[in-house]
């Protein structure tokens, strides 16, 4: 440390900047920014692969009748699309953002466990290679839905199920390692003076997310292990004939699955809480209530799992309990939305691409929240459950929620990452193309569901034809629009207008006190916290 204090920051970076060239740099890296970039690039690749599967699904559903794929392959597409988007696109994107931003935001030089960090990323491509390769096996890949309900995923599953289980195990290990790293970093490596209640909300939401991950990923691991032993080793956890219960599977799965839903949205809340104040040029309204709201959402997430299972034949008392708890979640979520609007209230607003995505997030995520509240009402859920209404609901919270926030974050921090400003005009085109097509894609799904179209069907009755055609057109347009984003990022990485240390007038946080692009090692001496 004594050499660090005598040399200037810049010389020191020069000294530390030696890293292997080419592929070895990326394979061996323990640097939080490199690993963050790897996570982000990987997640975008998965987003494209999962998106291509969605295109196949929408192409088949463009018209009634079977045109392009067999029903069995269709089921593989819906299953793997879901798995890839959840575990391959959204979660790694958030981990990538955490890697890049958390050390910079809390005034730390790097993540606390850099070698672990390297592994938690590099096992991911292995997991997805295994998962994707199972599609080419005889009998095909997983075809039982991303929720893999037993016994469809055990007794009646294809031979490749062992690969599916193994892939999920690896993804789970990766998530747990990543989460442990985030927790250790935030607790131990904050700069002096960075008290918990001074942390940016992105750090707060990720801290809470990481605890959720550590709590529930082992439950997922247990679930897939029971699926494995039921299928291959003759156990009967989920088979009535051996004394088990198929509904037990759903209880365990959703005990993981519901917190998982919040794992995919809490970091978004953090991102939006950074971007809205920056472009409103006004401090975030109600910082501490935002923290408490996040914590209460996280706690409540453990008490609502069975709202996914209202039709499984639960006792009335249980149905009522889970209905009330689920409705309760809308209170802290509402607080967040109101706080964002209050932040914008009497601000001085500008509408750069990150802000556009953040505003679209608030509106469209709230629509997803409304349909979520409707789904919580048990008697109504008997009608909505397993229809396109549910598909519309979770795509509103995951695509226009989680993914829009990730897009907003990418535009917001790209200048810091690359040192160049992105092409604002292209960014706006990307935004408008996305926001229009995404609504053409998902909004009519509400109508389809209410009119009675079940989800996960390769073919449908004639009265659903018009809307399905519209939805498919929206889907193709949304898919193509994401290629604009690829162009923006590649262009921005290769050059352009030089970005200043703080390209956004109203932005706050330690990351903007570093030069752009951010030096290879973050705060090598602890910054001063005001």
């Amino acid at each position: 440390m004594n050499t660090a204090t005598t040399t200037s920051d810049e010389q020191q970076q020069e000294h530390h900047d030696h890293k292997p060239k080419g592929i070895m740099r990326w394979l061996l890296t323990t640097n939080h920014k490199d690993i963050g970039s790897l996570y982000l690039m990987f997640s975008f690749l998965m987003f494209l692969i999962g998106g291509a599967m969605a295109m196949i699904i929408r192409a088949e559903l463009y018209q009634p009748g079977l045109q392009i794929v067999e029903p069995n392959f269709f089921n593989q597409m819906t299953t793997v699309h879901g798995l890839i988007m959840v575990f391959g696109a959204v979660m790694p994107a958030f981990t990538g953002l955490a890697n890049w931003m958390i050390p910079m935001m809390i005034g730390a030089p790097d993540m606390a466990l850099p070698r672990l960090n390297n592994w938690s990323f590099w096992i991911l491509p292995m997991a997805f290679t295994i998962l994707l390769s199972s599609l080419f096996m005889e009998g095909g890949g997983p075809n039982f839905g991303w929720t893999f309900y037993a016994p469809l995923s055990t007794t009646y599953a294809p031979d490749s199920t062992a690969l599916f289980v193994f892939a999920i195990h690896i993804m789970g290990i990766s998530s747990i390692l990543g989460a442990i790293n985030v927790v250790v970093t935030i607790i131990n490596m904050r700069a002096p003076g960075m008290t918990y209640m001074k942390m940016p909300l992105f750090v707060w939401t990720w801290l809470i997310t990481a605890f959720l991950l550590i709590a529930v990923m082992p439950v997922l691991a247990a679930t897939v292990t029971m699926v494995l032993t039921d299928k291959y080793f003759g156990t009967s956890f989920f088979a009535a004939a051996g004394g088990g219960d198929p509904v037990l599977f759903q209880h365990i799965f959703w005990f993981f699955g519901h917190p998982e839903v919040y794992i995919m949205i809490l970091p978004s809340f953090g991102i939006i809480s950074a971007i809205i104040p920056a472009f409103s040029r006004k401090k975030l309204f109600g910082y501490s209530s935002m923290v408490y709201a996040t914590a209460s959402i996280a706690l409540l997430s453990f008490l609502v799992w069975a709202h996914h299972m209202f039709t499984t034949g639960m006792p009335v008392a249980a149905e009522l309990f889970f209905m009330y708890c689920t409705m309760l979640i809308s209170v802290p979520t509402g607080v967040k939305v109101f706080n964002w609007v209050a932040t914008m209230w009497r601000g001085s607003l500008t509408f750069e691409t990150p802000m556009l995505f953040a505003i679209a997030f608030i509106v469209l995520f709230t629509i997803g929240g409304f349909s979520g509240l409707m789904l919580a009402i048990t008697p109504a859920d008997f009608q909505y459950h397993d229809t396109y209404f549910v598909v519309a609901h979770f795509h509103y919270v995951l695509v226009t929620g989680a993914i829009f926030s990730i897009m907003a974050a990418a535009y917001y921090w790209l200048p810091k990452w690359t040192g160049y400003m992105y092409d604002e005009r292209l960014g706006k085109i990307h935004f408008w193309a996305s926001v229009i097509s995404v609504n053409v894609l998902f909004f009519p799904m509400h109508f389809l569901g209410l009119a009675g179209m079940p989800r996960r069907v390769p073919d449908y009755a004639l009265q659903f034809a018009d809307f399905n055609q519209l939805v498919s057109l929206g889907g193709f347009a949304f898919g193509l629009s994401q290629l604009i984003f690829l162009v923006v990022v590649i262009k921005c990485a290769r050059g352009g207008e030089k970005a200043p240390a703080k390209p956004w007038e109203g932005a706050e946080g330690l990351e903007w006190e570093m030069p752009s692009p951010a030096p290879y090692h973050s705060h090598t001496t602890p910054p001063e916290i005001k």
Partner: protein, 374 residues
């Protein structure tokens, strides 16, 4: 930018309006039972509450977006908290929720009251058909999709009830409390008829309850709602609700048919089937019941469903072949067909499998062979 917003809003409205004006329905059905009407009312209440909250919140937001812009010279205010406001917007939603929870609770309690039923019907889902058993009269039947494969494969024109039609619908009387005992033979299915607001999972090895009391006679259509494998999209539900007198007449006819079928079965035992006769009937049964997994050409789907063409079972011991078709194969998707087909149909389809697609065993399985086998 405002222009873009205007254009996109206009576009959105146009798309929306055109679809509304089209023939597609866009809202939940009110259904034909008191319960379904209550569920519809509940749905509309929450929808309207959400819409009002949406208008207020988004209205405030769009007001800010239009008026508090830097380009219009807006200066940012400095406030960033207000305990009073924050408490207010925590508590108000809480009371709105209580307002929603009260009707939801009473509706739910009524829906779950399965007591004092007039008629009990056991509904069993299996890949990919429904079976209805009338408890009070000790008879039952399977109900399968009746849409021809050619319509699904776009060879012939799709008719009005495409994918929502079955060979034999469930028949119930109106104005009677009909209780359903719902279960499954293999994987989880879900029995859903939107017009009754009944959706209940069919769990293998367990029995769920649901009930309905239909107010108007008519034909009501639904579908399996839980992913149950390859042909999940192809196992519809059709219910005919009849006035009591017509229902009684139908029931009488059914019981007669059951008696006749038993007689025919006895007669079949005495007769001998020829190869030609067996192949014709066998092909019919095979296409309707076996081809969805084993494929029309008997080639199966590698890794998922075994082939029958050139398979050791179809070419080997007849007894083993009969055993598998009659009793199914444990821990696989192969069902027991003994209860699903008549002995004559079983004999014919086994003969067909042993002699079609180059499986030239020359075996002709007789009704007695099937009957005598375990």
């Amino acid at each position: 930018m405002q222009k873009i917003i205007m254009i996109s809003a206009a576009l959105g409205t146009a798309v929306f309006a055109s679809s509304v004006l089209g023939k597609s329905s866009i809202n939940l059905t009110q259904g034909v039972t008191d319960i379904s009407q209550r569920v519809y009312d509940l749905h509309m209440t929450i929808l309207i509450i959400c819409a009002v909250i949406g208008v207020v919140v988004f209205g405030a937001m769009f007001y800010v977006i239009l008026n508090h812009r830097k380009s219009k010279g807006a200066q940012a205010a400095q406030f960033h908290e207000s305990t009073k406001v924050e408490i207010l917007w925590t508590i108000i939603p809480f009371f709105i929720l209580i307002g929603m929870a009260i009707p939801a609770t009473s509706t739910l309690i009524e829906m779950e009251d399965n007591s004092q039923a007039d008629i009990t019907i056991k509904v069993t889902g299996s890949q990919w058909k429904w079976h209805y058993q009338y408890f009070d009269h000790d008879f039952g039947f399977y109900s399968l999709l009746s849409t021809p494969q050619d319509q699904i494969n776009n060879i012939s024109k799709k008719t009005e009830n495409y994918l929502l039609e079955v060979d034999k619908p469930l028949v119930i009387p109106i104005n009677k409390k009909v209780r359903f005992l719902i279960t499954a033979d293999d994987v989880i299915h879900a029995w859903w008829v939107p017009a009754f607001a009944v959706k209940q999972d069919a769990n293998p090895g367990f029995i769920n309850e649901a009930w309905t009391r239909v107010n108007e006679p008519g034909i009501y259509r639904g579908q399996c709602a839980e992913l149950c494998g390859k042909d999940h999209g192809f196992m519809p539900i059709v219910v005919r609700a009849l006035p009591q007198a017509e229902y009684d007449a139908w029931l009488k006819g059914q019981l007669n048919e059951v008696a006749q079928a038993q007689q025919a079965e006895q007669q079949a035992l005495a007769s001998t089937m020829t190869m030609e006769e067996s192949m014709v009937l066998g092909e019919e049964v095979y296409v309707a019941r076996c081809a969805m997994c084993h494929q029309v050409g008997g080639e199966g789907i590698p890794g998922a469903f075994p082939k029958i063409k050139d398979s050791p079972i179809a070419l080997g011991d007849v007894a083993l072949h009969i055993d598998i078709v009659k009793n199914g194969k444990a821990a696989t998707a192969m069902q027991a067909f003994a209860s699903q087909l008549t002995a004559k149909e079983l004999a014919a389809v086994i003969t067909y499998e042993r002699n079609a697609w180059g499986n030239d065993t020359g075996d002709v399985v007789q009704v007695t062979d099937v009957k005598e086998a375990k």
